[in-house]
């Protein structure tokens, strides 16, 4: 085979502890080509790319650059091989100027730092078609400026193979256009470019070929010209699978939790949730679908009282819960179980035992100064038994359990607390089929008991089968709320990628506006008094 690839990965496998992040993945890019790497969150795209940039080392498999096998032990090696990566989470030194962030990685910078570097960086910036003050400190930069700086950095190092991990997420339309212009020019100059993105329109716009990954596995690579957004969506989310998940019909009650015009910022200060309204009734599961990082995390944190909101209202059974402490919100019966990507970030104390983690929210309830581990042990043992948690004992630190078992412990505890609203994010992430079904059964049982459930999920098949309604988020905006039995994956996929906006469809009846909420009455009462 004569075709020469700029970079080729063969049979790459990478595991973190017991989690398989990449399983036997193949990938290849030619010079003068833009390859889009497409896949849902957690499908292992970033991990795969980090093995090219030298952050991780593959457990097995080989990498070829220009047809020669190479080993990439460090970012230094990657740079030498002409591989440059723009990370999604900026790798910048906050207190440095733009120029210094670039200069620090320059191959032969000369011994002394001269003021000329600002001029040189400025020239290069303009040459690439960007606008950036080289003397501006990173901590004074807007998110898009930081992104621009990262791109300039890689270009400046003269990378032949450029990887961009979701570069457009934080850029404006004009900036995206400019970036794409640069990418096209780089392509013409013979660079190989890999771009990770979720936006299908961008994929269609910029890429020559698309590689698709799903759940750590490589699915296929197709020529962009020979495919369609529908086809790509299907590959990305997988073919329709009949999952046979029960969806018991339950008589719904009044809205337990209602959110109105909610706006929340993320850690960087950008808008994460943009004027979102919805409600959850007792006895229903409201799914939240969306590409990762579309504000799901911020939404969950805001409901749990962990993140201040910018504006809007959150009403629980007629009481506004905005500004309440996490403890007060817990006491109202709102439970949150968020499974972050590292699984142990929130909701669990990783070094502590299952028993102790069971007690996290209720240790105060027992009388006297002592922690009631007897109840904790009973809870732990019941959860272990009912949810089939695989663990040496109830005393085992949660950190030592496999991902799926960690989730069972977390969800098990939340349900034990007897909440009336459950907010759960990615509860089946990384679980095997059987454990997943156990979790669905638990949620359904809660639903039949009249609990309102907000289910932030990834797998559309599961959401279609399990949820009553699905709200689709795209970059912090609601693209619409649809009935699960009246929609399909294609529609959801198009909404997730921002191609289809159904929020206007119900303009006369705003999505998620509950007419029968108690809140209005409560307000009136107060006014009367």
């Amino acid at each position: 085979m004569a075709e020469q690839y700029a970079i080729e990965m063969r049979g790459i496998t990478k595991t973190f502890g017991s989690t398989v992040a990449n399983k036997n993945v193949d990938l290849a890019v030619k010079n003068g080509e833009i390859l889009a790497l497409l896949g849902e969150n957690g499908s292992g795209k970033t991990t795969l790319m980090n093995m090219l940039s030298g952050i991780y080392k593959p457990d097995s498999g080989s990498i070829f650059v220009d047809g020669k096998e190479v080993t990439i032990d460090s970012p230094e090696d990657a740079k030498r091989l002409g591989i440059g990566m723009v990370h999604q989470h900026f790798k910048l030194v906050d207190v440095f100027s733009a120029a210094d962030n670039i200069w620090m990685g320059k191959e032969k910078p000369g011994f002394a730092l001269s003021k000329k570097r600002y001029k040189e960086i400025d020239e290069i910036t303009k040459k690439f078609g960007f606008e950036l003050d080289p003397e501006k400190k990173v901590y004074n930069m807007a998110v898009s400026e930081k992104q621009t700086l990262e791109i300039i950095k890689v270009l400046y190092y003269g990378a032949k193979i450029i990887i961009l991990d979701e570069p457009t997420a934080v850029l404006t339309v004009q900036e995206i256009e400019r970036l794409f212009g640069v990418l096209r020019r780089m392509k013409e100059e013979g660079h190989a470019i890999i771009i990770i993105t979720h936006k299908l329109n961008e994929v269609m716009d910029i890429s020559d070929r698309v590689a698709i990954m799903r759940k750590g596995e490589y699915i296929t690579t197709v020529n962009t010209a020979e495919t369609s957004e529908q086809e790509l969506t299907e590959w990305m989310v997988g073919r329709k699978v009949d999952l046979n998940i029960d969806r018991p019909v339950v008589e719904t009650t009044r809205p337990l939790l209602e959110v109105r015009d909610l706006t929340i910022n993320n850690d960087e200060g950008a808008t994460a949730i943009d004027n979102v309204s919805f409600y959850i009734r007792g006895g229903e599961i409201l799914g939240v679908a969306g590409i990762a990082g579309c504000g799901q995390k911020e939404l969950c944190e805001a409901i749990a009282g962990l993140r201040p909101i910018v504006s809007g209202q959150m009403i629980h059974k007629g009481d506004n819960i905005v500004g309440l402490t996490p403890k007060a919100i817990l006491e109202k019966g709102i439970s949150m179980s968020f499974i972050p990507e590292d699984r142990l970030g929130m909701g669990l104390a990783p070094s502590m035992s299952i028993i102790d983690n069971m007690l996290l929210k209720k240790y105060r309830d027992s009388k006297g100064p002592f922690v009631d581990r007897k109840t904790g042990r009973e809870d732990a043992e019941r959860v272990i038994k009912e949810l089939e948690v695989v663990t040496p004992s109830a005393e085992t630190p949660v950190r030592r359990l496999s991902g799926g078992n960690v989730q069972k412990v977390l969800l098990g505890r939340e349900i034990k607390a007897g909440p009336n609203v459950i907010v759960t994010a990615y509860p089946v992430r990384g679980l095997d089929i059987n454990s997943s079904y156990t979790i669905y059964d638990i949620l359904n049982k809660q639903k039949t008991e009249g609990v309102g459930i907000l289910f932030v999920g990834e797998d559309l098949d599961v959401m279609l089968a399990l949820c009553d309604k699905i709200m689709v988020l795209c970059h912090g905006k609601v693209m619409g709320v649809v009935h699960a039995h009246k929609t399909n994956k294609e529609e959801l996929g198009l909404m997730m990628t921002g191609t289809l906006d159904l929020s206007e469809k119900y303009a006369d009846k705003p999505a998620g506006f509950a007419r029968d909420t108690l809140f209005e009455d409560g307000n009136k009462k107060e006014e009367q008094e």
Binding site: I55, P75, K91, D100, L113
Partner: protein, 331 residues
């Protein structure tokens, strides 16, 4: 003694007795800028002192003394780097252990040598003369301050030169830029191809070597008389404080050395100044010596609190990743 002579010798003493502090501080700045908090300055200076002094005397050469002191410090740095960089050990614990270990070596070696015959500095002409004051032509003839500021031993000048050189290195060289990047955000430095571990090793060793020279200086200042209290006598800890006071800048550290040194010297010379100027400065005699000793730490504590209250980004020289070990695959 004439009144002006008191002032001249006061200025002279500020410099001569406190430049070791500058060595310790500048050394620690180099180490901390790489993101490593080394609490073993005291011990590092102690080993530099004892080995530098003994070998310097045996070789009858100040240069050999300086070199050996540097190497002894650097070897201590190597130990610290191996444990914290390669073996990911806790920096606080490693640093404290380094102090215990260093003081142990200091006394062990010192006592062993003493039992066979302690080298007396006065017997070694080259060391003694090498350490004698060198007048800077013309400048040292300036009345009042000339002999105070411009007539010092070689190690004083070397200390100032090192401080200025390190300041320049950190601020105005590409390597210095890389070093600062590592202390601020090792992951970012790593991602642009900077060899984080190698840079850390080199600079920890370099910084500890500089501390070692400072220790040697202290030994010489005590004329090499070895007794039950260590030559370093807490200066290593003051250096740790001075790093904070100086906001991690070697240039400010020179100034800080003189501020700290001013109080330190006032403790010793306060009474003689009070005697020379009874009307204006007589009250100096009433200030307890311990107040002067505590002042560096009080001032530093205040500086520490004030900077944390201001919490203005970019204004603090505190390396953001100070005290944290870097492991690339941490997610």
């Amino acid at each position: 003694m004439d009144k002006l002579g008191v002032i001249t010798s006061f200025i002279h003493n500020i410099i001569v007795f406190n430049i070791p502090l500058l060595y310790g501080t500048v050394g620690e700045i180099v180490v901390e800028k790489s993101g490593s908090l080394n609490l073993g300055v005291e011990g590092t200076m102690a080993v530099g002192a004892i080995f530098g002094y003994i070998f310097g005397c045996y070789a009858n050469s100040l240069g050999v003394g300086i070199l050996v002191a540097f190497l002894a410090g650097a070897i201590f740095g190597l130990l610290f780097a191996a444990l914290t960089v390669s073996f990911q050990a806790n920096q606080n614990i490693t640093g404290l252990t380094l102090t215990t270990f260093g003081l142990g070596i200091y006394f062990f070696v010192g006592n062993s040598v003493k039992s066979t015959g302690w080298p007396v500095m006065a017997d070694y002409e080259n060391v003694k003369e090498g350490f004698a004051d060198i007048d800077i032509p013309l400048l040292s003839d300036i009345p009042l301050i000339g002999r105070g500021i411009f007539s010092h031993n070689l190690l004083v000048y070397l200390g100032i030169i090192i401080a200025v050189a390190v300041w320049w290195y950190l601020k105005h060289t590409s390597l210095g830029l890389r070093l600062r990047a590592i202390g601020e955000n090792p992951a970012a430095a790593d991602s642009v191809g900077i060899n984080v571990n190698r840079m850390k090793y080199i600079h920890i060793c370099l910084g500890c070597g500089i501390m070692g020279i400072g220790g040697y200086y202290m030994g010489l200042n005590m004329s090499g008389s070895f007794n039950s209290s260590c030559w370093i006598n807490g200066y290593g800890w003051i250096a740790v404080a001075l790093v904070i006071f100086a906001n991690w800048s070697p240039a400010v550290a020179i100034f800080g050395t003189f501020v700290f040194g001013f109080f330190n010297t006032l403790r010793v010379s306060g009474t003689s100044i009070a005697a020379a100027f009874p009307e204006t400065l007589g009250w100096l005699a009433d200030i307890p010596a311990q107040m002067y000793q505590a002042l560096p730490f009080i001032i530093t504590a205040v500086v520490l609190v004030v900077t944390s209250i201001r919490n203005k980004r970019g204004s603090s020289g505190l390396p953001a990743a100070l005290g944290l070990n870097y492991f690339r695959e941490d997610r």
